[in-house]
């Protein structure tokens, strides 16, 4: 009962503190708001880029072309040899007839050219389509497939894939670094803003100490005040995240430049991001207050 009363009073005092020192509170809140907006943008960017990378990685396929002179048994042997290579995830045989049909359906020019070729003359080759379990090993796997007898050519979009993935991973790293740096900077900025607020209330703190308030008694209302400032500061960033991302998603139809690069669907992504923003705001506010009061307790 006593503890509840103390907690209740601490919250009341914290609310009073926020409103009695409104101009300084507003400074702290704006500071948190601006940083959290940038943090939100970085989180959205970072997760989407991560998502792109995963999509690209899932889609990359090694195509191994098979010599047309091989018999069916020999083609089966190649399958066995591919299956034992490390890091091979899936492999699938596509016959030259399937490929031809596919290509004839998709291109009129091709269709008219192919009409003049008999099945024996068809230059299209049977293929194995191989996926790896980790994109890092794609080059090695491709080289091993190339060594198998009866394989004439191996292709996996080498060069472009690596470049794309290394670019994505760079953006991902930079935006995560930005989030961490921003959080640290805000914590200190807020700590300083709250320090100013608290200096103007030094008298209050010294009186509290004189009448026998323990350090915890003094600190808790200020820490709760920091929590409130953090929560208030995260309101606008959360609104921007939810409405901003949903608008962005629908205006791009959920994809960026090509159907290949898909954006993360807004639900539940924006709500999780909002929770993270609220959490960061609250923690940063509490940490800032805690650090700011500490100085005044060494009386």
């Amino acid at each position: 009962m006593k503890t509840f009363r103390i907690i209740g009073r601490n919250f009341r005092d914290a609310f009073k503190g926020v409103f009695r020192n409104f101009s300084l509170s507003l400074a702290s809140i704006s500071c948190i708001t601006i940083t959290l907006i940038v943090v939100a943008i970085s989180i959205i960017l970072s997760y989407n880029v991560n998502n792109f990378t995963e999509l690209v990685e899932k889609d990359v396929t090694i195509v191994a072309f098979i010599d047309n002179d091989l018999t069916e048994e020999e083609i089966d042997t190649i399958k066995d040899e591919i299956s034992v290579i490390d890091h091979v995830d899936t492999y699938e045989f596509t016959s030259k007839d399937d490929i031809t049909t596919d290509m004839r359906e998709s291109s009129d020019v091709f269709d008219s050219v192919m009409k003049n070729w008999s099945d024996e003359e068809n230059p299209i080759q049977n293929t194995y389509q191989v996926k790896v379990d980790d994109i890092e090993y794609i080059e090695g796997v491709a080289k091993q497939i190339e060594k198998i007898d009866g394989i004439t050519l191996v292709k996996y979009g080498e060069g472009i894939v690596e470049q794309l993935i290394s670019t994505f991973s760079l953006i991902h790293t930079i935006s995560l670094g930005a989030v961490v740096a921003l959080i640290l900077v805000t914590a200190f900025l807020i700590s300083n803003t709250i320090k100013i607020t608290i200096s103007s209330r030094q008298r209050e703190i010294s009186i509290m100490r004189l009448i026998g308030a323990s350090n915890l008694n003094i600190r808790i209302p200020f820490i709760i005040e920091g929590l409130l400032l953090g929560a208030l500061g995260s309101i606008i960033p959360i609104i921007i995240t939810i409405y901003g991302y949903e608008t962005l998603y629908s205006s791009f139809n959920g994809q960026l430049f090509s159907p290949f690069i898909k954006l993360i669907p807004p639900t539940p992504f924006v709500y999780l991001t909002s929770l993270v923003l609220l959490g960061i705001g609250i923690l940063v506010g509490m940490f800032g207050s805690w650090r700011a009061v500490r100085k005044h307790l060494k009386i």
């Binding site: 209050e204 009186i207 509290m208 009448i211 350090n215």
Partner: protein, 227 residues
């Protein structure tokens, strides 16, 4: 039994100034003691050490069974809860009412609202300010503000009340009013130590008087012997 006992206390500040040296003193429960002396004689340092605003450089200070000199910063509140302190400049919260200023001292201990109200009203009645309960400090005279400060200092029922020149900013008539209040509190059993420059008050009150000089006890007058 002694409430306060100082043994061979010495205090040297970081600046090299020695404010107190070889001080031995004991004050019993329920006493009313004046500490007087010229400026710089160590009066303020002495009482600051009692409520652990300052630490002694050497020697031992026992207040209410607690070795004050050994108290860590984090544990200072333990002694503060047994002591009420009144200052020359009142130290009231300007944005809080008389009631809030006094209740503040009880709220941090998590007392129920009704109990706080009863205690605050009772103590404001004792200092004669029940009718100003909703006023703000700026709306009160100096004497009234000091009464609020005294009310706040004693609302917890401390064993010891330390007054650092409580009448320093007040005229003679108002000062005597404050002294009457302090006398009442003393009669209820609270030990009072008061630092003052006002010799007239000391003479009128006829209490024990300790004269300090250069950080030592120059003279210790028993009750009623100081003229």
């Amino acid at each position: 039994m002694d409430l306060i006992r100082l043994t061979n206390v010495k205090k040297t500040y970081n600046t090299g100034v020695t404010a107190i040296q070889d001080l031995n003193l004991s004050i019993g429960k329920g006493e009313f003691v004046f500490i007087i002396g010229s400026t710089g004689c160590g009066k303020s340092t002495l009482i600051k050490m009692l409520y652990r605003e300052e630490k002694p450089t050497a020697g031992q200070i026992i207040v209410g069974g607690i070795d004050v000199g050994r108290l860590r910063n984090r544990k200072v509140y333990k002694i503060r809860r047994k002591i009420g302190v009144v200052f020359q400049d009142f130290k009231l919260l300007p944005k809080s009412t008389v009631y809030e200023n006094v209740a503040f001292a009880l709220e941090i201990f998590g007392l129920p609202k009704e109990e706080i109200h009863a205690k605050v009203v009772k103590v404001l009645e004792l200092v004669g300010l029940k009718h100003k309960i909703k006023s703000y400090p700026a709306q009160l005279s100096g004497g009234e503000q000091q009464r609020v400060a005294i009310a706040r200092a004693i609302v917890n029922g401390p064993k010891l009340l330390i007054c650092d020149e409580p009448t320093g900013n007040l005229d003679a008539k108002t000062s005597m009013g404050i002294m009457e209040v302090l006398n009442e509190i003393n009669k209820l059993g609270t030990t009072i130590i008061m630092v003052t420059h006002d010799i007239n008050i000391v003479k009128k009150m006829n209490k024990r008087v300790i004269v300090l000089d250069s950080g030592r006890v120059l003279k210790d007058y028993e009750e009623g012997t100081y003229k």
